[in-house]
């Protein structure tokens, strides 16, 4: 039986990755340095939890999946996950390993629970994962990953309720797993931002802070906000926040926040929460 040792909700954005790389050469932008400093406690918390596996609910941004076949839910089953080239070349990081022998029992359990997933053998991961990964871990990556990609780009999107169900099914899959592993579930997306249209560059710290507050123990209240309303007040791309619902639902009802942080370094609200199992 595997243990669920915690959950993390975290924003992602391409500049989070590029600015980390600049920071490593001694050229931190002060606004991004704040995000780096603000995520250090999560890094330390994770190091103490010593997870063996991350299950990550994220979305691709037309960097691996093209529109020829667009899965609503896809799961990466391979032994290795390279970075996806987003058109600017690869960042200086190794790919991250997967673990098919861990992944298949999880996938079987999810399918049995009603999630008809698309199985991927060549999935490449974009900034949805690689932008925050170096803030939380240093290469060589000390964990293995099981990525679940969710359609957040083409309407109709899966509903918030479906994401909650995915989280609940993941919890059951992890807790009933035949192997003795330590698993952290991560939901990543948003936070507030809109990067197209005349609303380009809008962000809403007030909304983000409420989201970080409520995700701990008011999931029903958050999910009662229609996705369209979130897009209206927090930007159309803030709809990605629904992937945090899956992370939260994977944890026990009584899970408690060990840490929260928020800042807006550029045009995307950058927030993080670390949740402890009771």
């Amino acid at each position: 039986m595997s243990a669920l040792v915690g959950g993390i909700g975290i924003a992602h954005t391409p500049s989070m990755g590029y600015q980390y790389d600049k920071g490593q050469t001694g050229e931190w932008d002060p606004a991004w340095r704040r995000w780096y400093d603000g995520t250090r406690p999560v890094r330390d918390w994770l190091a103490a939890k010593a997870p063996t596996h991350l299950v990550v609910i994220y979305n691709d941004h037309m960097n691996y999946f093209d529109l020829s076949t667009y899965p609503t839910f896809a799961i990466g089953m391979s032994a290795h996950f390279p970075q996806a080239d987003e058109g600017y070349g690869l960042r200086p990081y190794p790919g991250i390993d997967g673990d098919p022998d861990f992944a298949w029992p999880v996938a079987r359990s999810l399918v049995a629970a009603g999630f008809d997933l698309t199985f991927c053998q060549e999935l490449e991961l974009d900034h949805g994962i690689y932008s925050w990964l170096p803030y939380l871990f240093e290469p060589p990556w000390p964990v293995r990953i099981l990525p679940i990609a969710v359609n957040m780009l083409m309407q109709p999107l899966p509903t918030p309720e479906r994401l909650r169900q995915l989280g609940a099914a993941l919890r059951a899959a992890i807790l009933s797993h035949g192997r003795d592993e330590r698993v952290v579930v991560i939901g990543t997306g948003g936070m507030s931002h809109q990067i197209h249209g005349t609303r380009f560059g809008m962000t809403n710290e007030r909304f983000d802070r409420r989201f970080l507050d409520w995700i701990e123990s008011r999931l029903d209240d958050l999910m009662a906000i229609p996705p369209e309303t979130i897009m209206q007040v927090a930007g159309s791309e803030a709809v990605e926040l629904s992937m945090w619902y899956a992370m939260r639902a994977a944890l026990a009802d009584g899970a408690k926040a060990a840490y929260r942080f928020h800042t807006t370094p550029a045009v995307t609200g950058c927030g993080v929460i670390a949740l402890e199992e009771p």
Binding site: P14, H61, M62, N63, D66, L67, S68, Y70, D85, E86, G87, Y88, L153, M154, Q155, P156, S192, Q194, I195, H196, G197, T198, R199, F200, G201, M202, T203, N204, E205, R206, F207, R210, I225, E228, T229, I230, M231, Q232, V233, A234, S236, T264, A266, V267
Partner: protein, 128 residues
Amino acid sequence: MSRRPQDLDLSLDPPSTFLFTGEICSRSYALNRFAFAFKHAGHRRRFEEAPEAVMEAYGLSEDEKALVRQRDWTGLVASGGHHFNIIKIAAAVGESHLHVGAHMCGADWDELKRSLPHFVELMPEDLG
């Protein structure tokens, strides 16, 4: 720069927002397929060498070809290109996501850059 709630277009309709739907995908599949391919260096090179031939090979309409020639990012998104795809064309011709944003806002690039982010404080309960 902060925007008051009354200044914010809440409609989620163009030109404030271009929601990408399955119907749009069906109508504009060739354009999106063409734009996605800019992720590959070979496609970028072929386009640089012979843009007209590449657009023809991907089956772009005459209107879509004209928008690409004019670097009309807003027009390309309005025609059904997903913005994550269209920014790949922009990057290949040396324009950043911020340039695309400025085009969409009808704003000067420097001015837009200086004004970002546009903080909004509207909450769900503020919607009528």
